[in-house]
């Protein structure tokens, strides 16, 4: 086992009275892709959002337990949430570029974090777009509106935007579910490339995708982490009957 970039310990999560996550314990290995699978409503997206405190934005939610990033609890009072989300970036299901130019989309984060030097911004934008395997497709139209890009390009732009603030962990919530197979394959290739530099956690309903892109897989069911193991183990010979029933389509 490699080093754990993050570690979730005895995590409970509540929406008001509803306990959405029950005593979750899960390490997230550095430079690995961890996939989270499970039926809708099982808690996997909720879990993903606990990793950069996105749930803080929802009223009447409560967190118990710890989420460690490099050994420090991200829920402790001295943590700056903006700094946390810089380190733990997120990419959503629907590509959500800002109604701005391609360039400004990527430069948005670094500008907020105080970078004003244009040469420096140019460098970050190019590096991020290259990191998201988009630069060659857009280099001649950086000042065009991001909304003119295809869905797959928009999603890679959102990944570039996340990379621009030099995160350490990338959370992806169904990043390819709105894309066609060609664009999906590009995102999957990109994930394989990105894991060399980032720790990636991906929520996906596409189990073949989980099998293709991840090294580790967690199966969630009704707020429980039923099974967490190496991806090949989960898909070849899962230990828990409920995991097997889910991945073979025997329930749901």
């Amino acid at each position: 086992m490699g080093k754990n970039k993050m570690e979730v310990k005895n995590l409970d999560f509540y929406y008001d009275d509803f306990k959405a996550l029950k005593n979750i314990n899960m390490p997230l290995e550095e430079n690995k892709v961890t996939a989270l699978i499970g039926p809708s409503g099982c808690g996997k997206s909720t879990f993903l959002r606990t990793l950069n405190r996105m749930n803080d934005l929802i009223d009447k939610t409560k967190v118990e337990g710890e989420v460690l990033l490099d050994g420090k609890n991200i829920y402790s009072s001295e943590v700056d949430v903006v700094e946390l989300r810089k380190k733990v970036g997120m990419v959503f299901q629907q590509p959500n570029p800002f109604p701005k130019s391609i360039y400004d989309n990527v430069a948005y984060g670094p500008r907020i974090h105080g970078i004003k030097d244009n040469a420096k911004l140019d460098e970050i934008v190019e590096k991020s777009l290259r990191g998201a395997a988009l630069f060659d497709e857009v280099k001649n139209r950086l000042n065009d509106s991001a909304l003119g890009l295809s869905g797959g390009q928009q999603q890679r732009l959102c990944i570039a935007r996340a990379l621009a603030v030099t995160p350490e962990v990338l959370l992806m919530d169904e990043p390819a579910s709105a894309l066609d197979p060609v664009a999906t394959a590009k995102i999957e290739d990109l994930i394989a490339e990105l894991k060399n530099n980032y720790t990636i956690v991906i929520v996906t309903h596409n189990m073949q995708q989980a099998a293709r892109v991840s090294e580790l897989t967690g199966f969630f069911l009704m707020g429980d982490l039923v099974e967490f193991d190496k991806t090949d183990k989960i898909f070849e010979n899962p230990a828990d009957q409920r995991t097997e029933d889910y991945i073979t389509g025997r329930f749901g």
Binding site: Q208, A211, E236, N237, P238, T248, G249, R250, G252
Partner: protein, 216 residues
């Protein structure tokens, strides 16, 4: 469970049924080959070799169904292991079919000559071998690990019988060199039965893998 997944599992069951039909046909073929030996029935021996085409068709048909299910359904875990194992079992059964044809060829070699000795151990071995094949397929269908393990353990009994038959035939050949040709054919029969037994062991080992994901 949704309709298309239910459909998939029905197809998986039908795949298993096809494999069992092949198994019964092959089992019958073992019995008939020894029947032909006992009775010097050359017509039956020829028929067994012609029937090998039917067994080959079973195998091809099963393989194609396995390939199609993998391509269209992307099975995982137990479903995937089951399909892979059925595809391998089809090969084991096809090989058994080949061996029954090999036995039939020995029957044709012996021709209309009287047998040099009454057949005692070979029918006994045949009985054991067909029972083991049936048990190995039952263990597969019921996913019965204990039954599969018993089949694996029972292989030694067949090996002992094979050795016994061979040493008896050697004694006969030493006593009377004119028996060499037929005795050699009978030795081959014994060895083919022993090989058939090994395929039942394979089937059982694959069953254990299918159920547990572990190799024996």
């Amino acid at each position: 469970m949704n309709a298309s997944r239910r459909n998939f599992h029905e197809e998986l069951n039908s795949l298993q049924n096809d494999m069992l039909k092949m198994g019964s046909f092959v089992e019958e073929s073992i019995r008939r080959s020894i029947e032909a030996l006992k009775n010097g029935d050359l017509e039956l021996a020829n028929q067994i070799c012609r029937d090998d085409d039917i067994i080959d068709d079973y195998e091809v048909n099963l393989e194609e169904k396995c390939t199609r299910l993998i391509a269209l359904q992307q099975p995982v875990a137990i479903d995937l292991r089951k399909i892979i194992v059925i595809s391998k079992l089809a090969t084991d059964l096809e090989r058994i079919g080949d061996h029954t044809c090999n036995i039939a060829e020995m029957v044709i070699n012996i021709g209309e000559n009287n047998l040099i000795k009454p057949l005692i151990d070979i029918p006994k071995m045949t009985d054991l071998v067909t029972k083991r094949l049936r048990k190995s397929l039952e263990a597969f269908v019921d996913m019965d690990i204990e039954k599969a393990k018993k089949v694996v353990e029972g292989d030694e009994e067949i090996d002992i019988l094979d050795q016994q038959i061979i040493s008896e035939l050697i004694t006969i050949m030493i006593d009377d060199p004119t028996t060499i040709e037929q005795a050699t054919s009978l030795m081959f029969v014994s060895r083919f039965l022993e090989r058939i037994g090994d395929h039942s062991t394979n089937i059982s080992e694959r069953t254990i893998y299918m159920k547990t994901g572990q190799r024996l």
